[in-house]
Amino acid sequence: MTTARSHEMNFLAPSVVRTIGTRSLVIGLIFAVLAIVGAFVRPGDFFHAYLLGFMDWLGVTLGALAFLMVRHVTGGTWGMVIQRIQIAAMRCLPLMMVLFIPILFGLPHLYIWARPLDTVADKHLREHLQEITQTYLNPHGFFIRAVIYFAIWAVLVFFLSKWSAEHDHPPMRDTSARTKQLSAPGLVIFALSIGFATIDWMMSITPGWISTMYPLIILIGELMSAMAFCIVIESILSRYEPMSTMLKPSFAHDHGKWTLAFVMVWAYFSFSQLLIMWAGNLPEEITYYYRRFNGGWGYVGLFLVVFQFAVPFCLLLSRPLKRDIRRLAFLAAWIMVMRWVDLYFMIEPNYSETFRLTWLDIVVAVAMGGLWLAFFCRNLASRPLLAAYDIHAQKVLEPVHGGH
């Protein structure tokens, strides 16, 4: 019976996906032109904004990969309905690789260790840099390590995507054992690689400052971005077939619960880092928060506390909201905006003691987002929205029974 149903249905993405893709491409290109102009007019601001935009959209890409692996390991029907969205998102990795290249040209604008060391005024920091640039923090190491990170992610994306595509054709199969065998060690390798990538790309902006929690804050933020993105996309698709059949309130409920969990863990990680550094009050650490509490940045921090944690947390406690995909999608879209604000709060105060928001911060993020979305829509449209010949996908097609 289920077989019959999967044959009857057409799981191709609705045409709206292509429309969104085209529009995103247009917007992305227009903003990209503006951004390129900005790159010549204000290269400093451009690269700061570029790193911000890159980390934001890389977060969605890698978050989707990590989240897919989590689902492969733990199982659960809630993941089937967004699996192809996750796969399309993680298949944007080639785009992110290309977009990484400009960062290599902006190293001196971004990282103090990439500049001539005589320009560093702080004696203590200069001594530290003299040592660390010999062995670790130098453009060559940075490049080689980036290649390794991208290679790891690319391998994971390649196999998970390929194996999923095999389910588009008969016969009906169960390959969960194979995906599990890759995903479990994959998650371990992923956690390490994203940890070191975060240290390279973001934490090394301030080389004397270290926090062992910092990579985890980025990691959980990426998972949150990916979940929020999937909710937004599934909500748009749910107006059309086949998503209107696939998406049950109970799945939306589960997605809402995941979002709630991520919001809470994000707050937990961020607050723990703050409290430990605030209470320790060591000069090499507290500078991070000293900058972010003063010069107008404190308001951004407060904004994050309220709108990245408090408001989403309270709203997500509501069961009706979690089961209503439309309302949930508004919240998810908001969370995606807040992800940008969070990264902005992590990156930009390193470059300016007082509050500073340039037009490039927004333009570059939108340009990258447009290109990314266009690429994503191409990926999404290239395959059915459900792996119809995956034995686990059948449950998605069962009629609604009450929920829980």
């Binding site: 371990v188 062992t212 929690m213 809470m264 723990s272 430990i276 209470a279």
Partner: protein, 459 residues
């Protein structure tokens, strides 16, 4: 086709959560008979007496401590936090698995937890009791420990809320209260079952009084379910916060080896790691001695082993990040700490820790080690030893050589340290022995809900 799907759903390769062929009556009988009908066995008595010996050792150690003071321990300056704090963290970590199983797995709708949550919660309670003892006696004057609570007093003094040690008082006491209530609420319907099945009038009255007149009314069940679900929802962040606060005891201080931001999640993962090891060490003998293999199946062992593997990897991630940052950050004290762990006087302890916590547990990637009870028991033992060593390394190695080398020192635990520690092990097992005999060690009413006939079919 449908058959294939069913095979996938029921887990072709995995054992079921409850062996087939049971009904409401047999589940009820099988679990409650352990308490009501099983005769006293020589083995049980011997076990209790053995543990009672250690309880007496604990009493002796604590009694002598009250007479002489903490000088009988190996603590000195600079190592003011010796065994007492190591054991405190170790015990409270073990307790965390109980709450995790009862609360978090419930929220995740992992019904396999239903057969292990009761004794895991009991384990939590006894572990927290053992844990709480240590900071109490470590204060030196436990009879005035209530000074740590905020209450109006003639001295006009109030607690200092910027100290993580005061946070600990609140966190641990909230945790103990919540664990006790959560456990008791879960027990109410089962106490009513025992009340109705007991034949001895005094036993009946005792269970009856504890069951508080529970009669299984649908209205009561409705409120009960809501309350239980909310308790699970509250206990989940609570259990994370408790070990987080324990980690703050260290991380808020600026001692190298303590002051690192990853400590909260890394402590929580370590707690769950050791807790699941203890759950397995208890579950494996219990299921074979009391004939509960139908309810605590291979599936439970395997799932617990997987949780252990995952949390162990998080702990490993913590070690890796800490070591890397020690080198990368360029702080000379952090770098020295790393060197001292690897080459200092406690290096053997550190390598043992790595072997026990990181290397040996990797065998859990192999399925056989997750399902074979004896092997799993051994791995769990190794993990518990490893997690104890971890706390020893954190407490002692960080303190014994800090900023100023004129004040370096060594820590040598005395026999009283060991008496107290082994005494709490005895106390813990002593309580577990009694629990097994006077309360149902598996939640009967939740097991009923796992049976296929419990579901109401759509009309």
């Amino acid at each position: 086709m449908t058959q294939l799907l069913e095979e996938v759903e029921t887990g072709r390769k995995r054992a079921p959560v409850i062996e087939p062929g049971h009904s409401f009556s047999t589940v009820t009988a099988k679990i409650s008979d352990v308490v009501l009908k099983r005769p006293l066995s020589i083995g049980w008595l011997a076990g209790v007496m053995f543990c009672f010996g250690f309880v007496n050792l604990l009493l002796l150690a604590v009694g002598y401590l009250f007479i002489k003071g903490t000088g009988i321990w190996g603590i000195t300056i600079p190592i003011g936090w010796g065994f007492a704090i190591v054991n405190f963290v170790w015990w409270i970590g073990i307790g965390h698995a109980g709450t995790l199983i009862s609360a978090i797995l419930m929220l995740l709708r992992q019904t396999w937890r239903n057969s292990i949550n009761r004794f895991a919660e009991a384990m939590t309670l006894f572990a927290v009791a053992c844990a709480g003892l240590f900071p109490l006696i470590h204060t030196g004057r436990p009879w005035v420990a209530y000074w740590m609570f905020p209450y109006p007093n003639t001295m006009g003094v109030w607690p200092q809320f910027r100290s993580p040690l005061i946070w600990d008082v609140f966190a641990v006491s909230t945790y103990a209260t919540t664990s006790l209530l959560f456990w008791f609420v879960g027990l109410i319907p089962d106490l009513a079952t025992l009340r109705d099945r007991a034949t001895n009038i005094w036993v009946k009255r005792a269970y009856g009084a504890l069951a508080m007149g529970w009669r299984g009314s649908a209205r009561h069940w409705s409120r009960y379910e809501t309350a239980y679900l909310l308790l699970a929802g509250l206990a989940t962040p609570l259990v994370l916060s408790v070990h987080t606060v324990v980690s703050f005891d260290f991380a808020v201080g600026i001692v190298p080896g303590w002051h690192t931001t990853i400590f909260p999640p890394y402590f929580v993962a370590g707690a769950i790691y050791s807790g699941f090891a203890m759950v397995l060490m208890l579950a494996i003998p219990i299921r074979s001695i009391y004939g509960l293999k139908d309810f605590i199946t291979e599936r439970h062992l395997e799932n617990s082993a997987k949780v252990m593997l995952a949390t162990g990897l998080i702990v490993g991630y913590g070690y890796a990040m800490e070591a890397f940052m020690g080198w990368y950050g360029g702080n000379r004290y952090d770098a020295f700490l790393l060197w001292n762990r690897l080459h200092g006087p406690y290096a053997t302890w550190y390598y043992s820790l790595l072997i026990c916590n990181i290397f040996i547990p990797q065998v859990l990637w192999i399925r056989k080690f997750r399902t074979q009870p004896v092997l799993l028991f051994l791995v769990s033992t190794v993990v518990l030893v490893g997690m104890w060593l971890e706390r020893f390394i954190i407490v002692v190695v960080s303190l014994h050589r800090d900023f100023l080398n004129s004040s370096w020192g060594m820590y040598y635990p005395t026999k009283w340290d060991w008496f107290t520690y082994t005494g709490t092990l005895g106390l813990f097992l002593f309580c577990m022995f009694f629990f097994m005999r006077i309360l149902p060690s598996i939640s009967i009413f939740e097991m009923r809900t796992l049976l296929p006939e419990s579901k109401v079919k759509a009309e």
